[in-house]
Structures are given as structure tokens and as C-alpha cells.
């Protein structure tokens, strides 16, 4: 596995250490929030352990992936909705 992984968050290129979560990549891209709530509030990660579902993002076109439970992979396209 390479030491760093290149992926994109909201179109922005991010280089990150292998083994990092998508959540870390979102933060490095400068995004504090991941999604919009049902009433339109912007929301960021809360529990960090896959329980709260606040860090949902779209990864490679698949919606509702928990950024905290997914590891970065080369070439990933991550979309936030925050």
C-alpha cells in the first residue's frame, strides 16, 4: 500500500496518509460539515464511531456512506452536502 493516497473531496485534491478515514480527508479539504439535516442545518461528525450517521457523505456516487467508518482509497470521489 502506498504511504499517501490521492483522492478528491468536493472536487478538491487531497493527499492523505494511508489508513486515514474519509472523515479525515473531508477535514483536510477544509470542510467542517458533511451533510444538511432534514431542516437544512449544516452538520458535522459527532460520534466518530459509526453510531450517529451525522458524517454521511457521497463516495463514488454512493450516498449515505459514513465518512468515519470508511478508509480512503486512491481516486475516491467524495461529495459533502454541508
Amino acid at each position: 500500500m502506498p504511504d499517501t493516497i490521492a483522492l478528491r473531496v468536493d472536487g478538491r485534491a487531497v493527499d492523505i496518509s494511508a489508513g486515514s478515514t474519509v472523515l479525515a480527508a473531508v477535514a483536510i479539504a477544509g470542510q467542517q460539515s458533511c451533510r444538511r439535516s432534514v431542516s437544512g442545518e449544516s452538520r458535522g461528525p459527532l460520534c466518530g464511531m459509526g453510531i450517529c450517521f451525522e458524517c454521511r457523505v457521497t463516495i463514488d456516487g454512493v450516498q449515505h456512506r459514513r465518512a468515519c467508518q470508511m478508509l480512503c482509497a486512491p481516486g475516491m470521489e467524495v461529495r459533502t452536502d454541508g
Binding site: 459527532l46 460520534c47 464511531m49 453510531i51 450517529c52 450517521f53
Partner: protein
Amino acid sequence: MAEHRGEVVVIGAGPAGIAAAERAAAYGRSVIVLDDNPEVGGQIWRGERERLTRGDVRWILGARVVDVVGERALLVEGTGGGAERVVFEHLVLATGARERFLPFPGWTLPGVTGAGGLQAMVKGGLPIEGKRVVIAGSGPLLLAVAAYLRGRGARIAYIAEQAPWRRLAGFSLHLLCSVEKLRQALALRVALAGVPYAASTWPLAAEGEGNLERAVLRTSRGTVRIGCDYLACGFGLVPNLELARLLNCDVRDGFVAVDEHQRTSCAGIFAAGEVTGIGGLDLSLLEGEIAGCAAAGHESDAHRLVAQRPAARRFASALAEAFALRGELKALPDAQTIVCRCEDVTYERLAEHTTSRSAKLHTRCGMGPCQGRVCGAAAEFLFGWTSDYARPPVFPTRIATLTAYHEVTT
């Protein structure tokens, strides 16, 4: 559909699960460990691969148990979204605990996180160097998190412990009973030298435009506002009971009921670690070992370990007593504070109801993707509501997994 068979299947790759797997594997049993997280270790050993047992254990990570299918099988959804069937002879539930979050004005702002939650994020690569962090809530976890984050370059602006000094002093006497715990406590003291720590202190609000900018804390000397990038809150731990409930294991006083060999009320199903009571690492490891022995059919070895348990349990009860949540925290939310973050249900809308069922039917509280994992523990504290059932799927699931029901049940 892929199918995995294990003589002993362990749910949860934290300390209790690892200990159970290691023991059962040492007796030559075929062992499978499943965990929702992408790495082993649970929360406390997150990502510490060296903890992996050298025994013959199959690790299936990034996999969620969705339902129980048939007498001795689980329907599991992997990270790739595919459905798998896991068949067991003996099952060990080591599903651990999550943090209890209490709602207060502003707690939905990005930047307000769990305490253990922020630690988990940083372990996953979240940059924390130079960030200002206020840590609030209750329990020794706050200190452990503060020390960890400081070690990674965070500036810990404040640690707010809701319990009063009087109780903390009583708790510290318990530390004197254990050389190891005393050593840990002293190490934390050194690691956190110079960091403001106050008892009888709790968050009143999180403020900021769009993102968190300030924590507002109630202290015994009045209200203080502290600028911060993160407000990391954790008001104790609550067990992850969903799977145990789905399996119909008896739950007593909020935890999975087990006998001295960690057997649940269901034949062939064991439980170990925080899901049977919040007791910390030592108790989790011990219970995991006992469950591993018993699940492998080596009752006499399990029995030899049982003698060590009373000391570990005493520490657990001292913990619960010292860090019990004070009633004033029930007044933290105002009418407009969101309690259910998935469905954006406010405190005032919930306060019209007398049971969680009524609230759920009328407001959708607890019906979003977290399925009440966050608001359930908050509502239990705020309103005294309890919920005693779990319905499948116990995790939000892809349609492809649901269609696999047909395959596994016919």
C-alpha cells in the same frame, strides 16, 4: 451469497471481543470476529493492529450485523454493500458502548463532537495540531481524551467535569487500591499539567455562525465563554444493546444479563465487556476471556478466571457512583434545542409526550438513520423514557441486502 461458518463467532473487535476470540482460538475452535469499524481494537485500541491475536481468527471488518436469520445465523452487510451470512455454534456479543450525548443549545453545530468521538476521529487521521479543544461531560474518559489530544498537538483550553469535587475525591480513593490505576492517574496528571480542570462544570451552549466558535460553560464561579475549534462532550457511556435485544437476550437494569460464565439467557450466546456493564478495560478483558473459555466449552478454565472479577467490578461501581449525572443537566436544552438530530425534533415537541413510543409516532424522534442510538440515551435521561425492543434491520441497510433475505430464509 458468501457464507462464513465459525464454531465461535464474536461480534465486536474491541478488548472484550479480542480476548474472547484469542481464548476460543487457543482451544482450537474456528473463530470469526465481526466489527462495523474498518480497523480492529474497538474504541480504546482503535487501529492498534499489534493487538491482533496470533491465533487462528478470521477478522471481518467494516461489516454490520443487520438481522438474525434462523436459529444460528446472522445476516451481515459488508463495506462493499454485499450481503453475507454468518453461521455460528456459539456467539459472543462484545458490542461495547457508545457515548451518551446530552442536548444543549448549539450542540448540533459542526465542531461539537463526542469526547471519545473526537479521539476516534483523530486516530483516523483528523488533523488536531494547534486546534483549541474544550472537553466537557463526565468520567475519566475526558482526561484520557485530553491527554491523547494534547499529545497530538491540540491545545486543551478547558476540561469541564459535571461531577462535584466531593465525589471525585471519593473516587480517587479507589485508585489507591490499584497500583496500575494509580500509575495511570499519575501519568494523566503529568500529561495534563497546566490544563484547567474544573468539577461541577458543564456546557450551557455552543455558539458560532455556521460552525462552532465558542463554548459557554457553567462553572461554580459563573458563566465563562471559551473560544475553541472543537467542543468534545461525553456524558458517560451507554451499552450497544440492539443486537442482544434482537436475539431476545434478557436485559436487566439497562445491560445484557449474564451469569458468572458470561452466558446470556439464550443458549449458546454469551456477552462480555461494556454491554454487560460499564467497567472499563480490565473488566472487559476479563469478561472476554471468561466468555471465550465458556464458548469453547472449557468451563473449568472460565471458572478459574471468575475469582478475579469482584475487584474489577468494585471499580466499575465506584465509577458509576462518582460520575452519576446531576439533575441540573436535564434543564440544558431550551424549547428549540434539537434532541433528535436525524429528524430535527425539538425539545418542546418531545415534551408534549409521555412515552418514547408516543413521541416516535407523532414526531419521528428516533426514526432516522441512527435509529435512536443518539436521541434514545438523551431522552432516557431527559424524560425517563426507555425503549426495550430492537427491530430489524438493526442498522440502515441497502436494498440489495434486504433482497438477500429471500436467499437466506428459503
